[in-house]
Symmetry: D2
Subunit: 424 residues, 4 copies
Amino acid sequence: MRIDKQQIATFNEGLLAGHTKRFEYISSEIDGVEQIISKLIDFQIGIPSWALGAGGTRFGRFHFGGAPATLEEKIEDVGLLHALNRNSGSISLHIPWDVPKDYAAIKKVAADSGIKFDAMNSNTFQDQPGQLLSYKFGSLQNVDKAVRKQAIEHNIEVIKHGVELGSKALTVWLADGSCFPGQLSFRNAFNNTLESLQEIYSALPEDWKVFVEYKAFEPNFYSTTVGDWGQSLLYTSKLGEKAYTLVDLGHHLPNANIEQIVALLLNEGKLGGFHFNDSKYGDDDLTAGSIKPYQLFLIFNELVDGMDARGMNHAKDLGWMIDASHNVKDPLEDLLQSVDAIMAAYAQALMVDKKALEAARANSDVAQAQEILQNAFRTDVRPLVAEARKRAGGALQPLTLYRQLGVREQLIKERGVDSQTTGL
Amino acid sequence: MRIDKQQIATFNEGLLAGHTKRFEYISSEIDGVEQIISKLIDFQIGIPSWALGAGGTRFGRFHFGGAPATLEEKIEDVGLLHALNRNSGSISLHIPWDVPKDYAAIKKVAADSGIKFDAMNSNTFQDQPGQLLSYKFGSLQNVDKAVRKQAIEHNIEVIKHGVELGSKALTVWLADGSCFPGQLSFRNAFNNTLESLQEIYSALPEDWKVFVEYKAFEPNFYSTTVGDWGQSLLYTSKLGEKAYTLVDLGHHLPNANIEQIVALLLNEGKLGGFHFNDSKYGDDDLTAGSIKPYQLFLIFNELVDGMDARGMNHAKDLGWMIDASHNVKDPLEDLLQSVDAIMAAYAQALMVDKKALEAARANSDVAQAQEILQNAFRTDVRPLVAEARKRAGGALQPLTLYRQLGVREQLIKERGVDSQTTGL
Amino acid sequence: MRIDKQQIATFNEGLLAGHTKRFEYISSEIDGVEQIISKLIDFQIGIPSWALGAGGTRFGRFHFGGAPATLEEKIEDVGLLHALNRNSGSISLHIPWDVPKDYAAIKKVAADSGIKFDAMNSNTFQDQPGQLLSYKFGSLQNVDKAVRKQAIEHNIEVIKHGVELGSKALTVWLADGSCFPGQLSFRNAFNNTLESLQEIYSALPEDWKVFVEYKAFEPNFYSTTVGDWGQSLLYTSKLGEKAYTLVDLGHHLPNANIEQIVALLLNEGKLGGFHFNDSKYGDDDLTAGSIKPYQLFLIFNELVDGMDARGMNHAKDLGWMIDASHNVKDPLEDLLQSVDAIMAAYAQALMVDKKALEAARANSDVAQAQEILQNAFRTDVRPLVAEARKRAGGALQPLTLYRQLGVREQLIKERGVDSQTTGL
Amino acid sequence: MRIDKQQIATFNEGLLAGHTKRFEYISSEIDGVEQIISKLIDFQIGIPSWALGAGGTRFGRFHFGGAPATLEEKIEDVGLLHALNRNSGSISLHIPWDVPKDYAAIKKVAADSGIKFDAMNSNTFQDQPGQLLSYKFGSLQNVDKAVRKQAIEHNIEVIKHGVELGSKALTVWLADGSCFPGQLSFRNAFNNTLESLQEIYSALPEDWKVFVEYKAFEPNFYSTTVGDWGQSLLYTSKLGEKAYTLVDLGHHLPNANIEQIVALLLNEGKLGGFHFNDSKYGDDDLTAGSIKPYQLFLIFNELVDGMDARGMNHAKDLGWMIDASHNVKDPLEDLLQSVDAIMAAYAQALMVDKKALEAARANSDVAQAQEILQNAFRTDVRPLVAEARKRAGGALQPLTLYRQLGVREQLIKERGVDSQTTGL
C-alpha cells in the first residue's frame, strides 16, 4: 500500500482552517517559530523492524492482522509512517531476520519510499534454528571461546550487511549476564566482553560507529554484563573514538535520573544514540511519552543543550530510534503516537528560554528555573509539530488520516489476517 | 523413570557417618529437634506443572532435553522429585494444557508416585487455538460481557476437572489490567472482575477454596486489576469465606515488606496460599532462597507465628506451592534447590525462641529481638532437613543423588532431546 | 503584611491584554469553559502550617528570612497566598505547635484573611519537651498501654482544639513501625493501633471525619504500621463511616499506580482526602507537579471521574491539602507553584472528553483512549486557571506579583532575618 | 570507662566449654580454619565518630543517655568496642565537629585504647554557625566560585588535621545536587565539581588517598552530582592514581547489584573503600547484615575474589568503615552487631571453595555454582569469628558482655543522661 500526496493534501485541506488559526496563535505567542519548524522538519527517527510486528510478553502474544511478513513489507510499513509524518525516514534492521536477499532490490524498495537504513542490530540473545553453539549462557561474555567467536562473527556479518545497505552504525545490545549469584565471574565476563567488542570494533569501517547499549535487567535477572551507563562508558572508552554509549529509556533501575546520564555522556563526548519508549516498571517498551511526558521533555532539554554546547547537528550527530513493543495497539498507530510525542518534546525543548535559564541558575533561583522549564512544557506545541509535518508533505493529523484511509484494513486485505512478522 | 528406595538407601548409606555427626551436633545445640523434624516431614510443597518445562522470557527460550511432553510425564517428574526429597508430594495443574483424557488413569499414575493434586490453575491470559473470543483486553474484567462469560466458564470447567482429580482449590491469577493511561476504567474493571469472580465462586464445591492471586505488574505495564494484597483482600472479603488471598513472592513493587503482608492477611483470616520463588527486579521467578534467603526466613517466621496464633495446621491449612521459571537451569535441579531452601527457612522459623522474642518485644529491646531472629537464621539447619528427608525415605542430598543417578540423561533417553512441554 | 485588592487589580491591568487574547483563544478551542472556570473558582486547597517554615532533611536545614514565628504569622502567610491565588483558603494546623492561646482571637485573624481551618494534625512521631512517655517505639502501636493512652489523649486534645476553631476533620499520620526485623509483632502492632484508633474515633464529634494516612517507609525503615492503602482501608473499614483513607502522593513504594488506588478508594466510598506534593525517590515532598505532572493529571482524572460517579461535590466532599517541604525554595513561592500545578491538573481533568473516552473504552480502542487523555493534558490551560483567579479577585500571575511586591523582603523587614518557625 | 583484660578473660572462661565444642565441630567440617582465623584477626573496621551519637530522621531524634560529648569520649567509645571485639581498631573523624584542640593529647588518648585514625571526613552539606557562605545550593558544584573556594579550603583543612593525627585518607561525600528540574546545569555542576576536586587532590600528601563517595539521592531529591559509581569513577579516573571510589551500601537505586559494582571497580583498580550498613528503602543506615545478609556475603565474596586477583592485602589495601545511624538502638550495641555481621560475611567469603566455583563456572553449571556459594553462606561461622576474637583478646560474645558489664549504665553515670554528641 502507498499513501499518495494527493490523499494527504486533501486531508490537510479539510483541517486547514482550524490548523491555521492554532498555528497563528502559537506563532504570536513564542519567538523563533521558523527556526523551530526548520529543526522539526530535519529531525528523523529510525523505526526498528521488530516494532512493526506484534510484541508480547513471556505470557503470550496477541496477533493482529496485516503484519509485515517480509523485509519488503517492513520497509513498506515504515514508508507509510513516513508518508504520514515525514519524521520516520529510516528503518533499523535486525539480523538474522532482516537479511536482504538482494541488496540492490531492497535499496530500491527503500528509496522508493524515501527510507534510509539506520543502525544495524545484531542478535545474540536467542538461538536460531541450526545455530552451532548456544547463547544460553551468554555470547560475547561466554566462558567458551568458541561461543564468543561465533557471536563476534555474527556481529561482523551484520556490519557487512549494513555496509551493503548504506548503514553507518552497529548497535550491540547484549542480553549477557547471569540469573543467579555465583553463576559467573563479573570480572571475567567484563574482560571477555571487552575483548570480544574489540574484535568487532576492529572490523568497523572507517566511517562507522558502534553503539554499546546498556540495560539493568531482563532477560537476565541477577546481573547484566553491560548493566548501566557506567559500564557502557567503560567499554566505549576502552574501545576508541568510534564507540559510543546508547541510551534506551527503559533500561534503568527504578527512579534513575536519565536526563542527567544523557548530559554527562554528552559532556564526555560519548553519547551515541537513543532508543525511545516509555515505561512504568521495567523495560515496558510502551509508546514514547505515554507515561512520563515531562521526563521525555527533560531529556530533550539536555540533548538540545548538550548538543548545542558541542556544536552538534541535532538531526545527524546522534542516532535517534524508537524501541517499542506493541501488545495492545496496532503497531503503526503506536509508532505514529511515539513519533508525535518525541517531536512534541523536541519542540518544547527548542522553546526553552536558555538565557533566562542561565540567569536563573547563575542566581540559584530554583523557583524561576522551574518556571522556565515548565513554561516550555506547558505550551501546546502541537500546532508547531503539525505545521512542520505539513510543510514536509505529511499529514496534519497522521493518526486520524491513518484511520480514515483504512490503512490497517488495506494491509489485512493485501497480506492476510494471519500474516506473521519474522523476528521477535 | 522411577527412583527406587534401594537406590536412595544405598546413597544415604555412603553419607551416613558424616550426616550422623552433623545431626548429633545440631541436636546437642538446639531444643525440640524431634518436634521440628516431625513438622518438616509433614510439610509438602506443590509443584506447578509449568515449572517442569523450559521457562523463558519474551526474548526467547533455551531448550533442554527430556522435557515432559504429557501430563503423565509431568507427574512422573514430580514423582522423581518427591522420591528424592519427600517434600514435593503434589502437583498443581494448569488448564487447558493439563486436561486429563482419563481421570482414573491419571489418578492412578499420580497415586503410584504418591502424588496428590494441589490447587488447579485456570488460564485466561493468552488465547488458545480455536478460542472464540480473545483475552487481549482482559478476561474477567473485559468490557465485553461475552468475553467475561467465556472466562467464567473456563474457570468453572477447571473446577470440574479438579473435582474429578480430588483437588480442593482453584487459583485464579489474572493478567487483566491495562498498558496505557486511559485504556480502562479502574472502577468498571474492578466491578466487572468482582462480578465475574462471584459467578465462579458460586460454582465452588462446599469443601473448596478459591485463591485470588495479586500481582503488581506484567504482562500489563500500566495497571493490574488485582494488583496488590489490598485489592485481593477486597475481592476475597466480598466473595465470602471460601475465598482467600494468595501471595506470590515475586508479585510486589520494589522493597515491599512481604512478611508484614503475610502477617496481616493471617490476622484477617484471609491468607490462603503461597507461591514461592525469588527475585531481584520483578517477577523474576528464580529459585526460592537464591537471592534473599533472609527474607524467606522472615516470611516463614510470620507464617509459623501467625498460624500458631490461629491454631492452624502448618502442613494443611495453607496452600504451599512453588512458582518458578527455569531459564538457565535444569528445572528438576532448580526445584530440588527451591524445596531445599524452603525447608531450611521453615526449619529456622521453627527454631525461633518465641518466649525470648516476646520478652524482647515487650521491652522494645530491638537489638535483642534482632539477635533472636538472627540466631535462628545463622544456625546451620541443613542436618535437620536432611534427617527429616532420610526418615521420610528421601535422600540425604537430593541434588547430588539426582546427578549421580543421571536422571536428566535417563529422561533424555526416554523422551528424546527435543521433547516439548505443553503450556508456557 | 497584607496584599490589597488594588495592588492586584493594578497588576492584572498591566497583563490584561495578553491574558484576554490567550483566554479568548482557549475559549474558542474547548467546550464548557464557563463550567470549568466556575469549578476552578470553588476549588480550595489547604495549606499545612508546617509547610510555611524551612523544611530540611536529616542532613540539615537551610534557613530563610521572614519565617512565620507564631500561629498568627502562619495564618498571615496563608492569607498572602490566598490573596494572590484565591485557591488557598484554609490552613491545616499541627498540634502541639499550633495550639491557639485564644481561639476567638485566632479565628478573627483567620476570618480577616478569609482563611478557614482545615483538618487538624496530631503529632506523635517525636517527643516534646516535658513529655512523660516517649514515642521512640511508636505511639498508637506501642507495647506499653500507657504510651498508647498518652497518644490517644493527645489526639482527643487535637480534636478539641479543632472543634473550637471550626475544623471538621482529624488527620492521623503515624510514624509507627519498626526499623529491624523482629522488633515488633506485626499482628499486635496492628491490633493495638486499631484499638487506639477506635478510642480516638469514639471521641469524634458527629459531623467530623478522621483521615487515616498511610506511608510506605520513613521514619521507620523496616515496617510501617499503616504502610499502604490496603492497611489504611482495613483500619477505616473497621472504624466506621466517619473514617476515611488519606492519600499522600509521596507515601508509596516505587512505581505505584496511585491513580488506580484513588479510583478504588472512591469506589469503596472510603477516600477522604489528599496530600499533594511530588517526588522522585521517596517522600521527597517536592512542589506538586514539578516531577511528574502527567501523573498528577491522571490522578485528577480519576478524582473527577470517581466523584462525579458518586455525585460528590468536588470542592467540599474531599479534603484537599498540600504536604510539602521546602529545602531550596522560598516556601511561599513553592506553595504558589504547587497550587498552580494542582489547579492546572484539575482544569485538564475537567476538560477530558468523557463521552469519547467511554466510547473508546467500550471498544478497547487503546490508542484513542490515550489520545483523549493526552489531548486534555497537552492543552495549555494556564489562561483558564488565570481567568478563574482573576474572577475570584486573585492575581493573573501570582508568583510574578509576589516578587514584584517584594513580599519576602517585607516579611523579613517585619519578622527579621532570623525568625524561626515552630514545629518541624 | 575502660574494659580490662581480666573482665574479658573471666567472661570468656564461663563460655569456654560451649565455645570449644562449637569451634572444634566447625574446625572438623571445613578446611583452612587457621588461615581464616588469622585473616579475621587482622581485619579492622573503622567506626565513624557520628555513629556514636543518636541518629535520627527529619522527623526527629530520640535521645539516649551517656552519649559521648567530646572527641575524647568518642575515642573512648570506640576503645570500648575494640576492647570487646578487637575488630574496631580505628575511628573516622568528621570535621568540623571532631577538630582536636591538642593533637598530641588526642593521639595519646587513642593510642591508650589501641585506636588509629581512619579516613577523615569533610562536611560541606550543612552550614556551620558563623560560616561565611552557605552550601544551600551545593559546595564543590556551586555556581559561585567563592563558595567552591570555601569548600575546597575546608577539605584542605581536613587533610591537615588528618596529617597531624596520622590518617592517610580523605573521604569526600558531597550532598551536592538539585531538588528540581532546571535548578542546575548537570554539565556545569560536573565540571565545577571536577575542578574543585582537582584542587583538593593537589593538596593531598604523597601517601594519601582521596575517596570520592557517590549517592543516588538524599538530601537532594532530583539529582546528585556524584550520583552513582559511574560518575564517581569518572571523577577518580580524571583525578589520578590517588583517587578512588568509595562504596556505601545504602547509596544506590532500588535493586542495584552492588556486588557487581564492587567487582568492576576492583577490576579497574579504582575501589578505595567501603561504608557498611544495611537498608530496605533508601539510605536507611541500618545495622550491617540486618536486612540482607546474603547480599553482604556476596559483596565480600567479590571483595575477597577481586583483592586476591590483584594480590591485595585484605586488611590494609581498602578502607573498611561502618556508616550507620541509630534511631532505636543503643549505638554501641548496634555497632557491635554491625561488626559481628561484617566479620561473619567475611568469614563465609573466605570459606568459598574457589576451585570448585571456577570449575562450575567453566562449565556454566549454574546450579552447582549456586550450591557452592550457599554452602559457604549456610555454614554457621560464628564459632570462627568468636575464636578469632578470643585469640585477639576480645570477648567470645561482645554484646552479652557489654550488657553484663553495664557499659551503658556506667557511661550514663560518667557523662550524664542528657549528654549530647556533637555533629549530626
